[in-house]
Symmetry: C2
Subunit: 247 residues, 2 copies
DNA sequence: CGATGACTTGACTTCGCTCAAAGACAGTGG
DNA sequence: CCACTGTCTTTGAGCGAAGTCAAGTCATCG
């Protein structure tokens, strides 16, 4: 019996529920402030006609920073990282993207970040020309994309708050909370860490050594437990929430 | 003879060229990768009919984090800061916004940041309901807003790169380069610093003391010169660009 | 089983933060 | 017009936390 990897939700192939987009809307909804699915079945139907499905193995580059941009991408399944290599030789990971996320926003015709898969990924490749044409016919779909982009913008702002903290353990806790939301959304109780420690370090603006020390510290304090390299269990929810919210 | 403040472009009142939105588009344009005006005269015309013009003095709160959101704002003239006060007592400035910028994006019906004027400001207050109704009639205008939001998203990503640097002088140089673009766009040769040192510190994720030391260091190295509190002149463009680009 | 790469651990350095105090500036009222 | 005062800014001394360098451990794959 082969164990399902923690980042898979167990669906077999492209279900009719894709491509999907998830975000917290501008306006107050019945769901409170939880993320909701933005697209109706009819809207997904229209999108999937424009899209090319791409199945990529782990560690595949989707596109490189500086290359000409003609597509945006919606993730059906899997995890990717979006990063930039800086002049100093450092790598800064701008974001991790998961199922129902949107990426591939360009500047003046070129991608600004490099995107690489972390796990095997199913992508919906949507040509930008076709999408803008669809927007003219279907302003409602365009509004959902706008909503999603604003959602991503808030997430990037959250990232700056993470990096702004001075304590390594606090930064790590905030990332773990993000990953916890992802794992919870897929019905897992433990937190899946599909990315490497150095990816985590590059996301948090720390050295890999500092990530390691912060992990030990959280563990020593009885807040979390690391099971192998890719799984974390929260032991003390109270203190975990406290250290992650301390900002 | 009263000297014009450095952040004013000298226009007297709401000209017919407002509200305006400036951004680098997705696609390659004739202008290369410089920001361009997104809205046509006709589009501005339609927007101004929805908007209420508000003239605010300096140090005025436009809205507070957590308050119900029903408007988005376009700046006609002036500078504002968007910030959050964190549980630790720290204040994190997420962005400075200038003329032709858009702000006021909400989450689940509430603003996430507090926005406060730094200089006197002319705002175009656009009700969200009216704007979405306009989007349905005019998908082209919606696309320009989408473009602007993506532009803001890139700027926030740039901010995370700034904060990710470990050297205070480098962070300060990157902010100065941002402000330099603003000043250049208004035809000034020197860089205007309308915000306080502690605003700068909160934007850069440093203490005010560290900002002061970094300023003195850049000055001592002959890279810039501070004239009073609100103006900076770049002396050595070469090394200024180098330190700002070192990332 | 050996090799390669990722991760962890330890010792030392560096840089920004904190605390404390002096110095410059702007708005106020005499 | 000028002195006063509160605020903002700068400067200095000491501390703490993360970075760097180096070495050791673990896991995975051929």
């Amino acid at each position: 019996m082969s164990k399902q990897p923690a980042w898979s939700n167990g669906t077999d192939a492209a279900s009719p529920r894709e491509p999907a987009l998830v975000a917290i809307p501008f306006l107050k909804e019945a769901s409170g402030s939880d993320p909701v699915e933005l697209l109706s079945d009819a809207q997904r139907e229209k999108l999937v006609r424009l899209a090319t499905v791409r199945e990529l193995p782990a560690r595949t580059v989707v596109y490189r920073a500086g290359s000409p941009a003609d597509s945006v991408f919606i993730i059906g399944e899997g995890v990717v990282k979006s990063y930039r290599d800086l002049a100093s030789g450092r790598r800064r990971i701008a974001a991790f993207f998961f199922a129902r996320d949107l990426f591939g926003l360009a500047e003046a015709g070129y991608y600004v970040n490099t995107v690489q898969t972390i796990t095997p990924v199913r992508l919906y490749d949507i040509k930008f020309d076709a999408l803008t044409a669809l927007f003219k016919r279907e302003p409602d779909i365009e509004l959902q994309f706008l909503c999603k982009v604003v959602h991503v913008l808030r997430e990037v702002q959250h990232h700056t708050i993470i990096i702004g903290r001075r304590d390594a353990a606090g930064r790590l806790a905030m990332l773990l909370r993000l990953l916890q939301k992802q794992s919870l959304a897929q019905g897992h109780r433990d937190i899946a860490l599909p990315m490497s420690r150095s990816d985590i370090a590059n996301y948090l603006g720390l050295s890999p050594e500092a990530v390691s020390r912060a992990s030990r510290r959280l563990e020593r304090q009885g807040i979390v437990e690391f099971h192998g390299r890719g799984e974390v269990r929260v032991i003390d929810r109270q203190r975990f929430a406290a250290i992650a919210a301390a900002a």
